[in-house]
Amino acid sequence: MDDLYREVIIEHYKNPSYRGKLDPHDISFADNNPLCGDHIQIDLQVSAEGIVTDARFDGQGCAISQASADLLLESIIGKTLEDVKKINKDYILDLLGIELGPVRLKCALLSLKVLKAGVYGLQEAGDDLVE
């Protein structure tokens, strides 16, 4: 349980490196976690070759959701959009380095849902994006 609030998570929550908005951006998407009202917006800049060159997230939420957003964006800069589409739940859990129950898993996966919905150009971010 203390693991859940590992120092790295508290650190990314309190001092995120990728918080903010990108203007201009090539992709932007936002969504909520209906369970708790957490909100995340993600902006991406993408090169002509389809490589993520910069990323930011904005919004509010718990330590788990905000830290996972920060860690996720840090990890995708330099990746192609095709690689981003392949990211799944296990990838996020590896980044966080913790185990999560079903309720908190939704917090951790909100940023990935938003990211993938944006990359796929969807209207809505479905749960199937993070299975």
Partner: protein
């Protein structure tokens, strides 16, 4: 009379649970659902062991016994809320279904485009969404009694809204977030003076306050068993007989009919007209046992105990730097403490408290518009019931200091 907490806590087996080695449960989430005493658990267990049979229309011994238990519970629930007749007590799944019953049956038969329904800004989603759905379908209009910064309904604004001749005023007796106890009888009386009927959402009042249908004079009153020591899956819609008699049935099926032909049916009399299909029999019997339990303790004693705990909790919580409480002062509210803590998301507060076995809820508590009003996405909510103690409040306070330290 003060409650014998030691004895009461022994009635609730779950309160003795060790969640993990050395971590005992401190249950502060009764506003979401209350724990169940042995009296309720055993009544339901006994039903399945000795009496289980489908109710009504059976002539064998078990069918007669189960029917008597099911209907006997209805009688005792009617007495608990001081209804004139058990025929006015309609079993539903929960408060939500009771409100939906009114929205589907009464409202669809009586409301047309442009008719006004008055709600409040402190409603649970269960008393918002059924009306949103009717608005989309029928074009009814919705207005909301505003909530003041200290968490009370603005009754002057309500009186102004009443000049527009609403058909229905539907409001919560007690807020599940702010804890505010609304002046329900006054709101109902004003609605009646304006020619409107009134529905009271009693999900939070029936468990905590002595409610009296004669004094309240509400046209409809909805409540759930599971928030008042009873099982999940059973609730009640109380209604005035004249209204219930003229309302069309809600769900169609067995038990709600007097006669069925291949191409037509005639509806059953009250209360069965609104109870289609095999109901939650064991749960109804459990509900009966729950109101017996509450009655044996005395609703006035329960309310007094909760008030004492709540007052103490407000005092202790207010001392914590960076903690902001929502809702009115302790004398105007029930045992609910919703708060935010500077720099820490409510989810994280709840999770860290859980480490010490303290169960509180985090989120918008199914009252998203109210949170928007106060411009916060979520709160942490500790709530108190007849079995909670001051020692548990102390554990909560200690836990919150631990959260502050972690996020410090």
């Amino acid at each position: 009379m003060t409650l014998d907490l030691k004895k009461i806590r022994n009635d609730f087996p779950i309160l003795g649970r060790q969640l993990r080695p050395g971590v005992r449960l401190t249950y502060l989430d009764s506003t979401a659902t209350a724990q169940k005493p042995l009296q309720v658990i055993e009544a339901m267990d006994e039903f399945y062991r000795k009496f289980n049979a489908n109710i009504h229309r059976g002539v064998h011994t078990l069918a007669e016994e189960s029917t008597a238990l099911y209907e006997g519970a209805r009688e005792r629930i009617a007495k608990f809320i001081n209804a004139s007749s058990a025929r006015q007590v309609i079993y539903t799944r929960n408060t939500t279904e009771a409100i939906n019953l009114v929205a589907y049956s009464w409202a669809r038969a009586n409301l047309k485009q442009g008719d006004l329904v008055i709600l409040t800004e402190m409603e649970h989603h269960s008393n918002l969404v059924p009306w949103h759905m009717l608005q989309a379908e029928r074009g009814i209009e919705l207005e909301f009694i505003p909530v003041t910064q200290d968490g009370l309904l603005d009754l002057d604004a309500y009186k102004t809204l009443l000049e527009r001749q609403p058909k229905l005023v539907s409001f919560t007796h007690m807020s599940n977030v702010l804890g505010t106890i609304n002046p329900a009888a006054e709101i109902v009386h004003l609605a009646h003076q304006a020619g409107s009927i009134a529905l009271v959402d009693g999900a939070q009042s029936a468990p905590h306050l002595k409610v009296d249908m004669q004094a309240l004079d509400a046209d409809f009153y909805a409540f759930s068993a599971h928030k008042m020591c009873g099982p999940t899956g059973i609730g009640v819609l109380y209604g005035k007989t004249t209204l219930l008699e003229t309302m069309p049935p809600f769900l169609g099926g067995g038990d709600m009919i007097r006669e069925v032909k291949l191409r037509s049916f005639r509806a059953n009399s009250l209360p069965h007209k609104f109870e289609a299909g095999t109901p939650a029999i064991a749960e109804a019997i459990g509900f009966g046992a729950a109101v017996d339990y509450l009655t044996s303790l005395g609703m006035d004693n329960i309310a007094a105990h909760e008030h004492e705990i709540s007052e103490y909790a407000m005092e202790r919580l207010e001392e914590i730097p960076g903690l902001k409480l929502f809702g009115p002062s302790a004398d105007k509210k029930g045992g609910v403490a919703s708060f935010i803590l500077d720099g820490v998301h409510p989810h994280d507060v709840a999770q860290i408290l859980d480490q010490d076995g303290i169960a509180v809820r985090a989120g918008h508590h199914c009252a998203q518009p109210l949170h928007e009003k106060f411009q916060i996405p979520a709160t942490s909510r500790a709530s108190f019931y007849l079995y909670n103690t001051k020692e548990e409040v102390d554990l909560l306070v200690k836990g919150i200091y631990k959260v502050k330290e972690m996020f410090g």
